[in-house]
């Protein structure tokens, strides 16, 4: 059973699982109809349109062996009821689903999608989070608070059903050439607002790698909590520059209020989570993932390069243009210098030395 199949990640996971011959039946649970763009992917998946409450009954009847819980929303969606609905789906949905899973006797595996937002972000945190790091304080972003609640329910579930292999995957922000998330929309703008005087360390994971990890955790047995992120770090400013965008540094307070106004107008969905992330950054240790799964996600750099390749049209300050500008400036300086030295060829060496020294100043 896969929840959240009307969304980008859920649909792809379900279709991948359906294509795997080791898995007999894949059932997609979602309160909404999948959008037409994703419907093609779900051809081989049995769809049940139900919310978490109704799904609870279905779960026991279906005799499901593995439950993949992906119906976790990162940002409030104004079309589906905003923040209230997001909390309803994330927290209440998970609670009801896990309550149902507790009663499903044939269940052997539970995979829950979490996020590295669970670590929060503050200036006092260690630079690199391992799975055992506890957040210093309750994060102020709504998504991070939801994630903490969800992980709390999973801990409770583990205590009550110790024989079920529960896997919690804490994903870094996902990125790819086609995926649409709050972050990809943010980096796709021509001018990217950043926080003045702060440069966050960011990590991404490629969507394909996230799918691979989810797939492996269904097919194989990997109980525990794992960080899923690409190795390496990109600074926010570096990422903006690599994407060929121009950063627009704003003081933290201004950025928060601008983001708040944009949220109420329904224009952008940059939440407090994201602002905290842009202020302090977040890097996680993926040693446990690579040793346990035997799989190394492609690096943050490669994942971001793939994203840039898919969003090249909005770029203004591209590497090619910069290289051309460099050659141009260097060429013109050489021409000017050649002209000045030709004027003074009649003079002795001492003189041209002096002109070099003088030319150095401007």
């Amino acid at each position: 059973v896969v929840t959240g199949v009307s969304r980008f990640l859920g649909a792809r996971v379900a279709s991948r699982l359906a294509a795997d011959p080791r898995i007999e039946r894949v059932i997609g649970l979602d309160p909404h109809d999948p959008p037409p763009a994703l419907a093609g992917l779900l051809a081989e998946v049995e769809l049940i349109q139900a919310d978490a409450r109704a799904a609870a009954g279905a779960l026991a009847e279906l005799g499901a062996e593995a439950l993949v819980h992906l119906a976790v929303t990162g940002a409030p969606d104004p079309q589906h009821g905003g923040r209230a609905a997001m909390k309803e789906q994330n927290v209440i949905g998970t609670m009801q689903l896990l309550a149902a899973a507790q009663g499903a006797t044939r269940l052997r595996k539970l995979i829950v999608r979490s996020s590295t937002a669970a670590y929060g972000a503050s200036f006092r945190d260690p630079a690199v989070f391992t799975e055992d790091t506890e957040p210093r304080a309750v994060p102020r972003g709504s998504f991070a608070r939801d994630i903490l609640d969800i992980e709390g329910y999973v801990r409770g579930f583990r205590r009550r059903r110790p024989e079920v292999a529960a896997t919690v995957l804490r994903f870094a922000p996902m990125i790819s050439s086609i995926a649409e998330t709050t972050l990809t929309r943010y980096f796709a703008q021509p001018f990217v607002p950043t926080v003045l005087g702060r440069d966050a360390r960011l990590q991404f994971v490629h969507v394909d790698d996230a799918l691979e990890v989810l797939h492996r955790s269904v097919v194989e047995d990997h109980p525990g909590t794992f960080n899923v992120a690409g190795a390496g770090v990109l600074m926010l400013s570096q990422a903006v520059r690599r994407a060929g965008r121009i950063s627009l540094p704003l003081p933290e307070g201004t950025l928060s209020s601008v983001a708040g106004v944009a949220r109420t107008l329904g224009v952008g969905q940059i939440g407090l989570d994201q602002i905290d992330l842009f202020v302090h950054g977040r890097v996680v240790d993926t040693t446990r993932l690579t040793t346990e799964f035997g799989f190394t996600p492609r690096s943050t750099e490669t994942a971001f390069a793939d994203f840039i390749a898919g969003h090249a049209n909005g770029a203004w300050l591209t590497a090619d243009r910069l290289a051309a500008a460099e050659r141009g400036i260097l060429g013109s300086i050489r021409r000017v210098r050649a002209a000045t030295t030709q004027d003074s060829t009649a003079d002795v060496d001492e003189e041209s030395e002096a002109s070099v020294g003088a030319g150095k100043l401007p």
């Binding site: 260690p126 630079a127 690199v128 005087g197 440069d199 770090v233 990109l234 520059r241 910069l322």
Partner: protein, 328 residues
């Protein structure tokens, strides 16, 4: 410039004989031109031109790399390229020309692998940490980078936090220190913290309390040698005559210093006094055999005390070598 002077400036070239006419002037600051600019046939302007041309080309390609974002940072946000090309040259001016720093015992730093450099902290603003990292980079034969551990306050302030991370610093906490040392980095720590840099001028060169010795347990857990280092000179750069505690509390900072020039002269008071600096690295204290004792408070406390005593003794011996704080 005399022949002896130029010999000293060229390490490993003791039998290099300067030609009689020393015409190649100080093109590149104080150092002599490293290649023979004295050959009669090609005019010297040719060489100088190429040097300048290369400089421009290097500068432009550096700018392009920065603007295109094609550089690497590590998990802690350390940007070696920016540090080597921008931060260190700026600090080097202070280090060499302003403070006339002399370093001894650099061979006590490990050539490879982790190390924990523990120093005395002084000087109101933590300039001693920056000078120490320049000393490690410039004097050590492998030009190693010192990864400093900074107070929370540094990482709370915008701009400063960004610069600190890019220069290789991180928050002083055990997970970070252990991760850096396990990765084979040289880590610099000042256990006195604000007690050290915020002390009165009257208390100069008296080591303050060493906290709970968290740095020792981090070193023990990773089996990293501890290298004590004594820094003389930082106490005189901004002598604190008084500490306005209520004002400091109002501003949320650990102390508000009153020095002879600050706040009297305003921003001019930020110019450090040109004291003479001596930095001495002491022989390393191995810890590999004590890995099991990382949680034993007695072992940790004794080792912290040993480090503290070593630094204090070295400070006194260095002070005897430097009778005049502002002499050459």
């Amino acid at each position: 410039m005399s022949q002896d002077e130029s010999r000293r400036a060229l390490p490993g070239h003791a039998d290099f004989v300067l030609p009689a006419a020393a015409a190649a002037g100080p093109v590149n600051g104080r150092r002599p031109v490293p290649f023979p600019a004295e050959q009669p046939d090609p005019p010297p302007s040719r060489d100088a031109l190429d040097v300048w041309d290369q400089c421009v080309a290097r500068g432009l390609s550096f700018l392009r790399r920065r603007l295109a974002g094609t550089y690497e940072v590590d998990d802690f946000g350390f940007d070696p390229e920016l540090t080597d090309t921008v931060f260190y040259p700026m600090l080097r001016m202070l280090y060499r020309d302003w403070f006339r720093t002399e370093v001894s015992g650099i061979e006590n730093l490990p050539d490879s692998g982790g190390g924990l450099v523990v120093g005395n902290h002084s000087g109101t603003l933590a300039l001693d940490a920056l000078m120490l990292s320049v000393a490690v980079h410039d004097e050590h034969q492998r030009a190693r980078h010192l990864r400093l551990l900074g107070a929370d306050l540094v990482f709370r302030v915008p701009v400063l936090s960004e610069l600190a991370r890019k220069a290789g610093a991180t928050v002083a906490c055990n997970p970070d220190a252990e991760r850096l040392m396990a990765g084979g980095e040289l880590v610099g720590v000042f256990p006195e913290g604000f007690k050290g840099i915020g002390k009165r001028f009257a208390d100069r060169y008296k080591l303050q309390r060493f906290g709970r010795g968290g740095f020792v347990s981090a070193a023990l857990r990773t089996g990293t040698p501890i290298v004590p280092v004594a820094i003389v000179g930082a106490e005189e750069i901004y002598p604190i005559l008084a500490d306005l505690k209520p004002l400091a509390r109002l501003l949320g900072i650990p102390y508000f210093p009153v020095t002879p020039t600050f706040p009297l002269l305003g921003p001019l008071g930020l110019v450090p006094l040109p004291s003479k600096w001596l930095i001495q690295f002491c022989p390393p204290i191995p810890t590999a055999h004590l890995s099991d004792a990382a949680d034993d408070p007695m072992v940790v406390y004794n080792l912290a005390d040993q480090v503290r005593e070593t630094i204090q003794a070295t400070l006194y011996s260095l002070l005897e070598k430097r009778p005049d704080p502002f002499g050459l």
